[in-house]
């Protein structure tokens, strides 16, 4: 069989064809062991693009000995060496003597432990080491010797163990299995890449072979501008969310989060040291005729003693806690303000009209930063206020909403949320991860929260929210959130990320 050693891909291609004419299949590792990988790949691609050959890439991991492994293959395992020295000393051996005889402290220490474990040696009456068996079989050495000569190991478990002990390393080797293609021939015909007027004139176009178009080619870099991938999927109707700062009242109290709730801990929420405190809720322009005082009073009463059919949390509610400023931990704080505003509007029937609000903006949590947590992330949130709403209607809406993003097969799990009851976590079966993943949260706002705002009893409000980062990370296969949001983003990633079509996989 031909064993060409040429490094020119042109010649190599011819050599491959020649070799293939004599054999059904070739393996690059045995038939072209000395060919450079890049040359081989180029030659194979060139031939396969002409359908002259077919090839398959084989990735293998070949075991090689580490220096320590080589030593063992030569002299025997640590434990065997320890055993041998101990066996030869008829009177037994102290540990110091053993160390002297072997001449290597770590070999002595490791070998001794292992030899004990194998019950090859034991401690005699005077504390000296003595051999417990007459002879041993040094299996480790045998395995390593086999690997050294054949680079194979029949027992995967043994191999894993040797690798764990750092005696063996696995080296990746890529080889190719090659066979004849439908247009197999010994000669490579020159392919025309252009149809010229000359060819038309002399008629050679009739017989010429044309190189097929390569639609997979990347093309020249256009150095384009690009939108950030996180923003590519946005475009809803929005509430004004440009104030990052809320008072405890709007961020927590209005949403039925009691003042002793862990979410109001320094551990979870960013508090503001400057400016110091918020005002009590009040109108900020003269067109704002909403009743803030009654609202404040209702919220306090619901927490402290209960109101609107609720027994409340029954604790000593503190005004000061309610006026502390925080960086908003969810955009629901803004939804609360919008619903309060809705309460003062009148539809044709004199009641607040049905309404739907969306927002998408940054929220803040005082979390330790890691691959999946940032102190800032985006929350997408929506509310639907209407009469006669049912829980099934919310599920139906969520099905439509997520359906637009190509997410189907939703499952709803009962959950807990201070401001919604019922509350449902939304799950979807993720084919890649092969399990249900949580994709959002939803619920119907608590009646005592809505009635505090002055909304009528029969007006029900759906609310739902989801983080934008999580689905985007899954979509773009990003494992570290810092590569998506913040200054550590890779600009090349922004440029190369394809436009999102969430309805396509």
């Amino acid at each position: 069989m031909a064993v060409p050693t040429t490094d020119s891909s042109g010649d190599l291609a011819v050599d491959i064809l020649a070799a293939l004419s004599k054999a059904e299949t070739l393996s690059s590792s045995t038939d072209f062991p000395n060919a450079k990988f890049s040359d081989l790949k180029a030659a194979l691609d060139r031939l396969s693009s002409r359908s002259m050959i077919l090839y398959k890439q084989i990735d293998q991991e070949i075991p090689f000995l580490e220096p320590e492994g080589e030593l063992i293959a030569k002299h025997g395992s640590h434990e065997a060496r320890v055993f041998e020295v101990v066996r030869q000393a008829l009177e037994g051996l102290s540990i110091a003597d053993l160390e002297k005889a072997i001449g290597d402290k770590s070999v002595t220490k490791l070998g001794q432990g292992k030899a004990f474990k194998e019950k090859w040696i034991s401690k005699g009456k005077d504390g000296k080491l003595i051999a417990s068996v007459d002879s041993i079989k040094d299996v480790t050495r045998e395995h390593l010797a086999t690997i050294e000569t054949t680079h194979t190991c029949s027992d995967a478990k043994v191999l894993a163990e040797l690798k764990k002990r750092k005696l063996v390393r696995l080296q990746k080797e890529i080889s190719f299995n090659i066979e004849k293609g439908p247009k197999f021939a010994l000669e490579i015909v020159k392919e025309e890449t252009d149809l010229t007027d000359e060819m038309l004139a002399n008629g050679s176009w009739k017989t010429a072979t044309f190189k097929p178009y390569n639609f997979n080619a990347l093309g020249a870099d256009q150095h384009t501008g690009a939108l950030h991938p996180l923003m590519k999927e946005l475009g809803f109707e929005e509430m004004a969310t440009n104030r990052f700062v809320e008072s405890g009242f709007w961020n927590f109290d209005a949403l039925m989060v009691p003042q002793q709730h862990p979410a109001r801990d320094m551990q979870d929420t960013f508090f503001i040291s400057d400016p110091k405190v918020a005002d009590m809720p009040h109108a900020e322009d003269e067109n704002d005729k909403k009743d803030y005082d009654t609202y404040w009073d209702n919220v306090r009463a619901v927490h402290e003693n209960g109101r609107f059919g609720s027994i409340g949390y029954r604790y000593n509610w503190q005004k000061e806690e309610s006026l502390r400023l925080v960086l908003r931990t969810h955009t629901t704080a803004i939804s609360a303000a919008m619903l309060h505003k809705l309460a003062s509007r009148q539809g044709p029937d004199g009641k607040p009209p049905p309404a739907r609000y969306f927002s998408i903006d940054r929220v803040f949590r005082n979390e330790s930063v890691d691959a999946t947590h940032l102190a800032e992330f985006h929350q997408c949130e929506g509310v639907i206020a209407d009469y006669n709403l049912t829980l099934g209607g919310l599920m139906d809406f969520m099905t439509i909403f997520f359906g637009k993003m190509g997410i189907e097969d939703l499952r709803f799990k009962p959950a807990y949320n201070p401001y919604t009851e019922p509350s449902m976590e939304i799950f979807s079966f993720h084919k890649g991860l092969n399990k249900l993943v949580e994709i959002g949260n939803s619920g119907m706002f608590r009646p005592e929260m809505l009635e505090s705002m002055g909304l009528p009893k029969d007006l029900k409000v759906y609310g739902w929210g989801l983080s934008l980062e999580r689905p985007t990370m899954i979509k773009y296969k990003i494992s570290n959130i810092r590569e998506l949001l913040g200054h550590k983003v890779d600009l090349n990633f922004i440029e190369r990320s394809p436009a999102v079509r969430l309805d396509k996989d």
């Binding site: 384009t224 950030h228 104030r243 862990p262 400057d274 005082n366 209607g393 949001l485």
Partner: protein, 485 residues
């Protein structure tokens, strides 16, 4: 959300069924809890450790924080077990065990409740669960013992009546739980300083008097919320358990007291009964704890059916409620509902309505969006403008970036050669790192940081951001105005 670990084998025995992984997942999902982990096939589980199920429960359900509560609730949900009637034993007040409260406790830890479980037989597993429930309640509902602290004692080692006092640290002397020697209040503080109990010391450390519970022979039962006395500690052999709870919040005190006794009264010689204790308050009034009277509510049938989109008869609603551990009966156009003492999270009719939906099955509810009102959608003008600017920038060859809104004080001021006159930037009180000191007053720091981290990228480099900054504004309620930059 708290995660509860239960012995898998024992748990399936308690449920009377060996579930497959999928079956158990489905049960959890329907009930609203989550199987976090099954350690059976976890290679890192030590061989001597029995396989565990780690179950995440909702933060409001104190009745699911232990093996006993989880198994009981799931059995009631599956119709395998009736809801027990939790009962306070009928003992005349003059024969009750009692505790006398001294008025000084009002300044440091004003509320106390007690209860006794008689004839308990602990196994190692139920004993561990008992200890673990206290721990879970301390961490979650009791907010690291600030609101409520629980002490449990072997009643046979102490002698009532008890007193709840507040004494100066020098005047309290006892051998704390699992400690070698006696110490006074001050020595105890110093001794526990760097131990794991050290994190609770701040709750009373600076108070002039510390709360203490004594028996009639001056034996210290506990120094709440820090530590119990060693003398009265409970063991596997304890049969009569004295539970005392002290608190700064009366509602939480009752919730946690009821949680302890409803969960573990199942081991009383007469299951689900608790012996009451009379509390003689400093002002001369008395009350009896625990109070296990169910909370009575009337819930409109139409309200439940309306929210669920169902048309159930009152009787079938009652059947569903039974599976969620309520006692109920039809009452005209309403349902009379008795909320068990295990469910302090039920505040409003909506909580009952949700439980009807859970028992019915969320995923079985009729899905039609029955009522659709037409509403007009509209983008916020400023955000629409922002989108136009973004599109134009991108089309002109600029890359959009999204740096963080929080940054360090230096990044926002000194490094831009800007001076902080104290009138613009919002400063954070409790950042974990220097990177989160202020809310940006300019988009520049983020853009510059993005360039710093992308020096490897080929030039020319053109980046942009359209987003918000925030500035202090004392004229507004939240003292802040947002500016679109």
């Amino acid at each position: 959300m708290p995660t509860i670990g239960v012995d898998k084998e024992d748990f399936f025995v308690a449920l009377g069924q060996r579930f497959t992984a999928d079956e158990f997942q489905a049960l959890c999902f329907d009930y609203g809890i989550e199987l976090d982990e099954d350690t059976e096939d976890d290679p890192s589980r030590p061989p001597e450790e029995k396989p565990q199920l780690k179950i995440e429960v909702p933060a409001n359900r104190s009745d699911l924080l232990c093996f006993e509560g989880l198994a009981r609730s799931l059995n009631i949900f599956r119709g395998k077990e009736p809801t027990p009637t939790y009962r306070v034993l009928d003992i005349p007040e003059d024969q009750m065990q009692y505790i006398v409260v001294s008025k000084e406790t009002a300044d440091v830890r004003p509320f106390v409740a007690c209860a006794i479980l008689r004839g308990v037989r602990f196994t190692q597993a139920s004993y561990d669960s008992f200890i673990s429930l206290q721990d879970k309640l301390h961490q979650n509902l009791a907010r690291q013992r600030t609101l409520v602290a629980i002490g449990t004692h072997d009643l046979d080692t102490v002698q009532g009546p008890f007193t709840y006092e507040a004494r100066t640290p020098e005047n309290i002397r006892f051998r704390p739980l699992n400690q070698e020697k006696e110490m006074d209040g001050n020595e105890l503080m110093a001794h526990l300083e760097n131990k794991h109990l050290g994190r609770y010391l701040h709750i009373i450390r600076d108070a002039p008097r510390y709360p203490v519970i004594y028996d009639s022979k001056e034996v210290v039962c506990s120094l709440p919320p820090i530590i119990n006395g060693d003398h009265s500690k409970i063991t596997l052999n304890t049969t009569n358990v004295f539970i005392e709870l002290t608190a700064t919040d009366r509602t939480k005190l009752e919730i946690i007291c009821n949680s302890m006794v409803t969960m573990f009264s199942q081991y009383s010689s007469e299951p689900f009964t608790v012996e009451p204790v009379l509390i003689k308050e400093a002002n001369g009034t008395t009350r009896v704890t625990p109070n296990l009277t169910p909370h009575r509510m009337e819930v409109d049938v139409d309200y439940i059916n309306g929210c669920c989109g169902l048309d159930l008869s009152p009787a079938s609603i009652c059947q569903l409620l039974e599976r969620m551990a309520y006692t109920s009966r039809p009452l005209g156009s309403s349902i009379e509902v008795f909320v068990p003492p295990t469910r302090p999270d039920v505040l409003h009719a909506c909580d009952v309505m949700e439980d009807v939906a859970v028992a019915y099955g969320f995923n079985k509810l009729p899905r039609s969006l029955s009522h659709k009102s037409a509403t007009v959608g509209k983008p916020l003008p400023i955000n629409k403008l922002g989108d136009i600017v973004r599109q134009e920038c991108a089309m002109a060859g600029w890359l959009e970036v999204m740096p963080l809104i929080l940054c360090s004080h230096d990044e926002n001021f000194a490094w831009l050669n800007r001076h902080d006159d104290g009138t613009t930037a919002i400063k954070l009180a409790n950042p974990k790192t220097v990177e989160y000191q202020v809310v940006r007053t300019s988009l520049l720091p983020g853009l510059l940081k993005t360039i710093r981290d992308n020096k490897i990228v080929r030039l020319p480099l053109k980046i942009f951001e359209t987003s918000d900054i925030a500035l202090k504004d004392d004229s507004l309620e939240r003292r802040v105005s947002g500016i679109d930059s």
